[in-house]
């Protein structure tokens, strides 16, 4: 792995949520951009001009606000290829054939881990093989000019999807090239995408990126930042997602970010997802207000099922469509899509575009439906609040009011936790499972301080399921829930009658 940016005094202050001072930030940028040759291509003045010259329908911040104003639910796929040409073709296909409202660039996993030498090797092998051997686009290796060509090839806003705890160079290059959105955050990605990096380093890395967005903001360019609250994508209950949304959002706002999207993986339970979207929006705004941030726009995005998918295109198609239905009814501002290839491998551009059109159709069909006033929905929404507030309040208390410090301490104490995390700094003792009515609940809270009455609700419903399916109450329930959605439908809903 490449060395992290040099940790000397000029570039490293004690951890806090406070905005990085101008001068320190300039030093940090200089060091950062020097880490790979393409870093030198970043010129903030040129970048600002570039963004100002983009039509507003290619600026994600404007597009998200407009979607919110018009109550539209936008679609956005993922996708990245290992060579420039393949990747440009993919972006064009997603734009034209998929009607994607937001066009992505997923980076490859070497880039995510700042292994740019390996990425270079991957590019060469991909060219040789005539197919992509990388699982995404090596943004850093190709640099600013190429990024700019990609943005020019489409007629939509472009977003970087980089699933990394180390976003500093990728973010600089993409933003400079005219990408107007970046998905990633210090808490979410550090807990879910890396093994050895500490939460503190992850937070610091994203403070840099958020500070960069604020720099553009100060120069009159509104960029979109976004938080991946889907975390490990594996049965993450809304409350745990939202806790990280709130905390990452407060960290970003402290650096000066004004457009901050919040993402959550779908639970695939209509009522729980609708409640989660409403609760997420309210809770984030609530805590922002408490911390004195009154002008942060926080649209909410749902993601198609993030856990394991079935090996049947027909089953997958139904999950894709339902993913659109859920997002529309939940009133999400956008939905991030998958394809019928999900269980197998990275989809072809065509399969990816089909997933987009399925989703778009599903949104159209359900665009007028809302659940406000449905008793079960109102109950669930209140429940989520009762789960989130005690955790967030505890974190703030542990940090003596500082979100960054509180977060680091809370992870150490297990007060903050993420299920199925690969990170050594995360307890990953909390275990979720699906209950008898299809809601995601918590079977073991680990050391997360959920109130007793809340945990009693979870346990009661999960015990019902355990009993019905004859699974011992405990981790087995969590494991069977990991598999559930990937099981053949014949097993999930038999066409036979018990005799």
């Amino acid at each position: 792995m490449n060395a992290p940016a040099a940790p000397d005094a000029a570039t490293r202050l004690p951890l806090s949520e406070a905005p990085i001072p101008d001068e320190v930030f300039q030093n940090m940028r200089r060091a950062n951009l020097a880490r790979w040759p393409t870093g030198a291509e970043v010129d903030i003045d040129a970048a600002v001009e570039r963004h100002k010259a983009l039509p507003r329908h290619k600026q994600l911040a404007w597009v998200m606000r407009e979607a919110d104003r018009q109550r539209r639910c936008l679609t956005q796929p993922r996708g990245g290829c290992g060579t420039f040409n393949m990747h440009r073709d993919l972006m064009v296909t997603l734009d034209r054939e998929g009607l994607a409202d937001v066009v992505p660039t997923t980076t490859d996993s070497y880039t995510r881990n700042e292994q740019w030498q390996l990425a270079q090797h991957g590019i060469e092998e991909s060219e040789k093989a005539g197919r992509s051997l990388l699982n995404g686009y090596p943004m850093v290796n190709y640099g600013v000019a190429k990024a700019s060509q990609l943005v020019d090839a489409i007629d939509k806003p472009a977003i970087m999807l980089t699933g990394t705890a180390m976003p500093m160079l990728t973010g600089e290059i993409g933003y400079a090239g005219g990408y107007s959105g970046y998905l990633g955050s210090g808490i979410a990605y550090t807990t879910s995408y890396i093994k050895e990096l500490t939460i503190e380093e992850g937070i610091r890395n994203y403070q840099y990126l958020d500070r960069l967005a604020a720099l553009y903001q100060a120069r009159g360019v509104e960029l979109h930042r976004r938080q991946p609250g889907f975390l490990t994508g594996t049965n993450v209950p809304p409350s745990i997602a939202i806790v990280t949304c709130v905390l990452d959002c407060l960290l970003a706002a402290a650096q000066g970010v004004r457009n901050y999207g919040l993402e959550m993986g779908e639970t695939l339970h209509l009522i729980q997802d609708a409640a989660a979207v409403a609760a997420c929006r309210e809770l984030c705004q609530d805590y922002l207000a408490k911390k004195g941030h009154r002008d942060v726009f926080t649209p909410v995005t749902l993601l198609h099922w993030m856990g394991a998918w079935p090996h049947d295109d027909a089953q997958s198609a139904a999950m894709i469509a339902y993913g659109g239905t859920l997002a529309a009814i939940a009133g999400a501002n956008s939905v991030t899509t998958k394809s019928t290839h999900e269980a197998y491998g990275i989809p072809t551009p065509q399969a990816n575009a089909e997933g987009l059109r399925m989703t778009r159709t599903a949104i159209y069909l359900a665009r007028n439906i809302r659940l406000d006033g449905l008793p079960e929905y109102e109950r669930e929404k209140a429940l989520i609040g009762r789960e989130v507030r005690p955790i967030v309040d505890k974190v703030l208390e542990m940090g003596d009011g500082d979100v960054a410090v509180g977060t680091v301490r809370a992870f150490e104490a297990g007060v903050l936790d993420v299920p199925w995390s690969p990170n050594r700094g995360v307890a990953s003792r909390v275990l979720p499972a699906r209950d008898a009515d299809g809601y995601l609940r918590i079977v073991d809270p680990g050391r997360m301080p959920f109130p007793g009455d809340v945990m009693a609700v979870h346990e009661e419903r999960l015990r019902k399921r355990a009993e019905r399916e004859n699974i011992p109450y405990g981790p087995d329930l969590a494991v069977s829930s990991v598999y559930e959605m990937s099981e053949p439908i014949a097993k999930l809903m038999s066409d036979r009658w018990a005799v």
Binding site: G82, D108, S109, Y110, R112, N113, Q115, L118, H121, G122, E125, R131, S132, L133, L134, N135, G163, S192, Y193, I194, K195, E196, T232, T234, A308, H311, H341, A343, Y344, G345, I346, P347, T348, A351, W420, S421, P422, R424, P475, V479, V482, S486
Partner: protein, 148 residues
């Protein structure tokens, strides 16, 4: 059991963060009686070999989900041979290459690399346990024959 308990090394190779299936697999293998040395996500190829030597492991189970396994796994068997692990059982499993491809083509790539078995996407732990059972039994039989 304890006396001749087999040792397995598991982990997710390369820059791959997909830990869920690997963790469930490791838990299941432990439950079914193996000693499991679990290296977790984002594990360099060399770390597998080092761990196998240190624990005198009988098999290495490499997970690769994120598609770049085709790059990460090249030369894995050679690494083992160089380290003196000439006959260690090598499995690999997951979403082994980028994209959706007919399984036989993918399997061939990895068997050619020197893996003894390759598991297609979505393989269940029961299958892996069966494979290990079979393969260790065959090895025992071969060993007994060799000693006869």
């Amino acid at each position: 059991m304890a006396a001749n308990q087999r040792t397995l090394v598991t982990g997710v190779i390369g820059s791959d963060t997909h830990i869920v299936g690997n963790r469930i697999l490791s838990m299941a293998l432990e439950k079914s009686g193996y000693k499991v040395v679990s290296l977790g996500a984002l594990t360099p190829a060399g770390d597998f070999v080092k761990a196998a030597i240190e624990t005198a492991a009988d098999a290495i189970l490499v997970s690769s989900l994120y598609g770049q396994g085709e790059l990460d796994c090249r030369g894995f068997r050679d690494l083992c041979v160089e380290a003196g692990l000439d006959h260690i059982l090598l499995y690999v499993g997951g979403n082994l290459i980028v994209g959706k491809h007919p399984w036989p083509a993918v399997e061939k790539i990895f068997l050619d690399m020197g893996f003894d078995r390759a598991a297609p996407p979505g393989t269940r732990v029961e299958t892996v346990i069966e494979w290990l059972h079979e393969d260790f039994a065959t090895r025992d039989r071969d060993l007994r024959r060799a000693l006869d």
